[in-house]
Amino acid sequence: MILYFLNIIFSLTGPVVFGLLAINLCLSRLHFSRLEIFAVAYALGTAIISGAIFLLSLFALNLNIVFDILLFALATASIALIRRRKSLAGQIVKIKITPPANKWKIILIIVLLLWVIGQIFFIATESWSKPIMQYDAIATWSLKAKIFFTHHQVNLNQQSPYFLGMHLPNYPLHLPLLEVWQALVVGRWQDSAIKIVFPFYYLCLIIIFGFNLLRRQSLIKTIIFVFFLSTLPLLVYHASADYADLLLAFYLLATVIYFWRGLTENNSQYYYLAGILAAVSSWTKNEGLFLSLIIILSFLVYLLVKKMFHFRFIAPLLIFIVLLLPWLVFRSVYSLGWGNVDAGWRLGWHPQIISVIFSRLFGTINWNIWWLIFGISLITFRRRLLTQENLFWLLSLLGVFGFYLVLYLFTPNASYITMGIVDQRNLLTIVPISVFYVGLLFSNNYDKI
């Protein structure tokens, strides 16, 4: 049992080592708070591992050999990281936090923090104790991973029923291959060991959200918005459901946050990091490709509007394309298509979805009262919407909303809305961005404007 827990810890820390080394080597001018750097490193490390498994599998290597190669690389990375520990320590900064003087505010902070910790504890327990049981979670993600793991290879034979994991072969492989990594480390297929990555992503989401909002917000308001985010019912459900939407939500939020950090701190390396994270979001789910492209485009439009555009800002787009190229070429070679979003592109007009979406935003428990808060905040702080970097956040949100709206209003994909199988999950991927944006609108900085 002890060995089992050690394996779990190793499976989670392995990606962090890869991620930390990547940050230290390629993004050495970036600064993070202590917890934030681990969250970003985990997110990058998991992508490095899934990407490496995918690329090595193209050579038809047995997964046991791939695992040996990864272990060797991990050992090398660990040694390199130890040697560079001082340089890495230099990238960690301490955020100045001023606790409120009012004792009631302190009590409120403690209560909310305990609540958030309780949520994390609950999600971890849910993930740990429940098997993978949702139909989509099994068919779309876990069955793929289990087939790869038990057959010791990523099946690339198109004639085989096990081609790319049987079901939906055109889905990106980040999550299945990450689950393969978990299984390889533990040494057997065990649902609890596989699902543990989800509470970890949830934790990482809260960390990058909180520590970045804290740069603009007071402690108490940051905690309130962290509380809002961490108790969104559908997000909590997905955090233990073994489904890729939580991961996509994390990567999209991180992409926008680090574009924003680049703008506020005038540091180009944040843009590179955002480009990498955008590529990973496309490697997580198909719609991630469109959403991350929209976010990159919003960034470029913001620069043009603010007359700050320079060709060096194309770099994140280039990074995005270069990192994604192997997967896109692979898709093209195997003619994988775009799967579930392939209801056809015949233009039409489907206004009936507006009332459906409206009723789901305000008639379900999925978002607590978030969309009401969002609406009231936009009206209340209408003069702040376009100030400073808020314009970039607004462009990103409008871009993503607009993309979905055009997709469902004008194409036969509208039927997926009426069937109720996409809209809430689509929203899940951008809700964290909207919470952060409203958090910025509430910032004290604007009181002086």
Binding site: M133, K221, G363, I365, I369, M419
Partner: protein, 361 residues
């Protein structure tokens, strides 16, 4: 006179018996070949081609049976065999009949890719509460870019098409379970989602305070703080309910299972579907399969309408070669599932109650 009456009763009875026997074997058959209906009448198969009634709605196509008065007995005709070619990975379609809707079915549940061939998919229509009574007209709605349909057949439940009610309870629960990923159901208060009451109260509070703000300078100055306090209090009131639900699940269920983090699948699936007996049966059957069939052999699991199938594949794929074509299989297993007609090539090897069968070629 009495003899004549008795004879009349006997003849009527015989006719009724023959009719019911006939109805049990006939098929209602619609063949959509090149957008023409060739056979679409109950028990009378005409060779005359009739134009297919096609409509469009929401960007999808609807095939409608031309006969307005089919008179199909829903209590007898339960099995839909859809012969279709999936063009995308997750095509869905709707079956409407008369003025009722059976709901959205998906052939994505049949997880084998079809290699661009027409495949028969079996659906047990009686698993829907809506199915039954006299069916006057059938509609099939789908997105043509997703799905190409060659034919669909509605036939009575026959002995080879095993249908039991065991999974009905499971399916009833499944709709709620599926709602989990795609959205959570809000508890109702007087028939209205309780969250809507919060929306109304918060809106009224904000509007009233916003009106007061114009006269009260102090309120205007601290407006963002006031808003945040209103939001926080409202949020807490909803979150208390959802979090209480979460923690009660935890304390009621999981603490009692401490020390067995991965051995409780059966219990949790049982909780999920609201039928511990069902989950117990499924997991015992999976164990029986592992004990009865040597590893590495090829097995065919009849593709039913979803969850049973995917759970079995997920639990058996590490040990067996699961094939899409029944002709390639050494074994055929059925957990209360519909069996295709070609199952007659197999012999029953093991039978576990209730209705858990292992066939060998």
């Amino acid at each position: 006179m009495h003899r004549r009456i008795i004879l009349l009763f006997l003849i009527t009875g015989s006719l009724l018996f023959c009719k019911s026997a006939l109805a049990a074997t006939e098929k209602f058959y619609c063949d959509f070949n090149n957008h023409r209906v060739f056979n679409c009448q109950k028990s009378v198969f005409t060779a005359t081609a009739q134009p297919l009634n096609i409509r469009e709605k929401d960007g999808s196509t609807i095939y409608i049976t031309p006969q307005a008065q089919l008179g199909l007995d829903g209590n007898q005709y339960k099995i839909l065999t859809l012969r279709a070619k999936a063009k995308t990975n997750s095509p869905r379609f709707k079956i409407n009949f008369s003025d009722r809707q059976i709901g959205i079915l998906s052939i994505s549940n049949f997880i084998f890719r079809n290699n661009n061939q027409f495949i028969d998919y079996y659906f047990n229509l009686s698993l829907s509460d809506q199915w039954g009574g006299t069916i006057d007209r059938l509609y099939l709605q789908f997105v043509p870019q997703d799905l190409e349909i060659e034919s669909f057949v509605v036939s009575p439940a026959t002995p080879i098409l095993v249908t039991k009610s065991l999974w009905q309870e499971f399916w009833a629960q499944r709709s709620e379970h599926l709602a989990g990923i795609n959205g959570l159901n809000s508890p109702l208060l007087n028939g209205i989602p309780f969250i809507k009451y919060f929306f109304v109260v918060i809106l009224i509070a904000v509007i009233v305070l916003a009106a007061v703000k114009y006269r009260d300078r102090g309120l205007a100055k601290n407006w963002s703080k006031v808003l945040l306090i209103i939001f926080l209090i409202s949020w807490l009131m909803v979150a208390i309910r959802t979090s209480y639900g979460n923690y009660s699940i935890y304390f009621n269920n999981y603490l009692s299972r401490s020390g067995q983090p991965n051995g409780n699948s059966e219990k949790i699936i049982g909780d999920l579907v609201g039928s511990p007996e069902l989950a117990k049966n499924l997991y015992s059957f999976l164990g029986n399969i592992r004990n009865s069939i040597p590893s590495g052999t090829t097995i065919f699991i009849p593709p039913d309408s979803g969850y049973t199938y995917i759970l079995m594949v997920y639990n058996l794929v590490d040990r067996y070669q699961i094939v899409a074509d029944i002709n390639q299989a050494d074994y055929l297993i059925s957990f209360d599932q519909l069996l295709p007609a070609s199952a007659q090539d197999f012999k029953l090897k093991f039978s576990f109650t209730p209705n858990q069968l292992i066939y060998q070629r």
